[in-house]
Assembly symmetry: C2
Homo-oligomer: 389 residues x 2
């Protein structure tokens, strides 16, 4: 390998924090992507030869995984065989310089490698350890393998997503992995605060299955209250009304008039004073009870104009409404552009690649419109070894 | 009101942090719920008379909103009219003692109240300010109203969720709000780290629409790479194969054998050596290209046994698989119980109420199985006023 670049420059609220990242595919890497976007230095420790499994996941461009590039931009890579003594010595030097180690192996793997929490904490008392796994590091199912689809199914979210009576539907993005990645980031940052205050490092243990339950919010409340598990409701909110997709003249428009003021304002805007007076629609609980009648009445009026016409009228009246955009229209929306949500990175092989940006905007920090590329396997290995001496 | 209780006891990595919480309904309150679960003291500042809108959202038990209780457990409440001079004086004393203020008003509201970032930062230079809004605090659509359903539609997630050619499907939980709440928490904790290191407080500005884009992960990658927006794919992963729901004898089972080793192991376990040898299924890209043929072949075998039979066999072979649970089966799963994901709170009116627990497990901190109740409107008002002197 030719001369390695200097460490990736980082500027953000987490500048100065170093993350040793053993994680693969999505849950762990999404967590460390967030940390990198906020300024942390993230060093991916990958298996020699193959590296992160996600390097083999499509979509591909010229043989390179765009999936991998997107999630691992701005990180560094060193290939280390954690069963080889010389590489273990390098790894331990890395751990000694790091603030946080993140992994998403199946529980037990770190112990087998000799790097379980007790060992790590004994050797590196300032090192925070974050583990994201399918079912967490305790409980009867702890050792079971899981991927996103499995926890989406087991965790209940698929049972409330899709059309009533229809085929099972997955949430279109990997909510199992991404949700776990976000909670892992919150756990890590809380542990960092605790360490700064007390000097004590802790272990953060996140189970993807637990996270699914935490994400279900009022579906769990409804179940505990009634003993009945809710089912899928198409495009309708279960308890806030009106809050769903309605038919306009040329397709669906979403209207979310979730409180009495907004509902009255909606009726006035549609020139449907009769609905504002209708006792069936007098409160949110009554509107929810009479949701089908409400929809029928609203669509009588909504079908008389196009989505765009209603959008302009409803915007003017301050009533939350919007179209159902495809992914292209969403990321090219003027608001997405203005908020710098489409960024570019210069890949050494592919040239300019577009990616989604960082939704966390923090005053006083630049929100750059470019990103450093994802690393080739072991791209920073020589440089990191030199730094470690 | 009778004598107010002492401040809610907090023990967690964020103990000692005080959050002044102006937020309502879901995105902001979900963020501050996470902070409260991690030990922060959260003081809800509510409008006198009505309070948080969510107090009027179902499901209800004996007239009380279980929706509100679930999201606001363990927080304190003080009712303050921010247009009244005496109440503003109390509010400013609160801000002077707080670490973080969180709000999810429509952009411009804080400025109208005289508490925009410039004013806040000038008066309270150590105070971190977090704003979660529909479209963020900049850009042409900044001032537009938005709720969960609107950003689910506009942000693209509905376009990739549900059955191909089917009706639009919402993600069954409020991913628009909850996603924004999680990113707000990550932003706040990063800002806290920066403040501890440098003494400087910052403003965190989260747009729900931006967050939707950040959650789309590989759908955006695919769009930028191909120029084509992906559509909904039912219960199938777009680029990892096999990774979907399959028909067993008595219903659907999810199998996620996302890499070559797992796929070969799956073929061996099903006694389908022919599939392991089949050139159409030799790599993940080939399996994705031939996904329909693969499904047909797998289901020939899978339809010969029940979900439970396959579950036992696949677990034994270490192949990620699982059923599609409803919400009740999910939260009552032995693993959920073992991980303390169903907790109870003692409500003064309703008695014992069950709620979902905290998925962030941190070593050295208790993971309590009970929670303090959600506050009545202004329940802690007198006590907080006394503390402020």
């Amino acid at each position: 390998m030719s001369a390695a670049p200097s460490p990736v420059k980082t500027e953000g609220p987490l500048s100065g924090i170093t993350v040793i990242d053993l994680s693969r595919i999505l849950a762990g890497p999404y967590c460390t992507l967030m940390l990198a976007e906020l300024g942390a230095r993230v060093i991916k420790v990958e298996t020699p030869g193959t590296g992160d499994d996600a390097r083999q996941f499509g979509p591909f461009k010229d043989g390179k995984s765009a999936y991998f590039m997107s999630i691992n931009r701005g990180k560094e890579s060193i290939a280390l065989n954690l069963k080889d003594d010389a590489d273990r010595a390098v790894f331990e030097k890395l751990l000694a310089t790091g603030d946080i180690v993140v992994e998403n192996f199946r529980p037990g793997t770190m112990e087998k490698l000799g790097y379980g929490w007790d060992v790590l904490h004994g050797k590196f008392p300032k090192l925070i350890y974050a583990a994201a796994s399918g079912f967490g590091h305790s409980g009867p199912d702890s050792k079971r393998a899981a991927y996103d689809m499995v926890v989406q199914g087991m965790g209940g979210i698929m049972s409330i997503t899709g059309q009533p009576g229809g085929k099972p539907s997955r949430v279109g993005m990997s909510i199992g992995d991404i949700g776990a990645g976000l909670f892992t980031a919150i756990g890590v940052l809380s542990a960092l605060h605790h360490r700064e205050k007390t000097g004590e490092a802790t272990k953060v243990d996140i189970g993807m299955f637990d996270v699914q339950l935490a994400l279900l919010e009022n579906a769990i409340v409804r179940y505990f209250l009634t003993g009945k598990a809710p089912g899928p409701m198409g495009a309708r909110h279960p308890t806030i009304t009106p809050f769903e997709a309605f038919d306009a003249q040329d397709g669906a428009i979403i209207i979310a008039a979730g409180n009495d003021n907004l509902f009255r304002s909606l009726c006035a805007t549609l020139d449907r004073g009769d609905m504002a007076e209708d006792p069936r629609f007098a409160s949110n609980p009554l509107r929810t009870e009479n949701v089908e009648a409400l929809k029928e009445e609203l669509e009588k009026t909504l079908k008389t104009k196009t989505i765009d016409e209603w959008q302009a009228i409803l915007d003017g009246a301050g009533i939350p409404a919007g179209p159902i955009n495809d992914v292209g229209r969403a990321i090219n929306h003027p608001q997405a552009i203005a908020r710098n949500m489409a960024v570019t990175m210069e890949d050494p092989d592919l040239g300019t690649v577009k990616l989604v940006g960082n939704p966390i905007k923090i005053s006083g920090f630049e929100d750059p419109s470019t990103r450093r590329p994802a690393p080739a396997l072991n791209q920073h290995g020589d440089e990191i070894r030199r730094q470690l001496g």
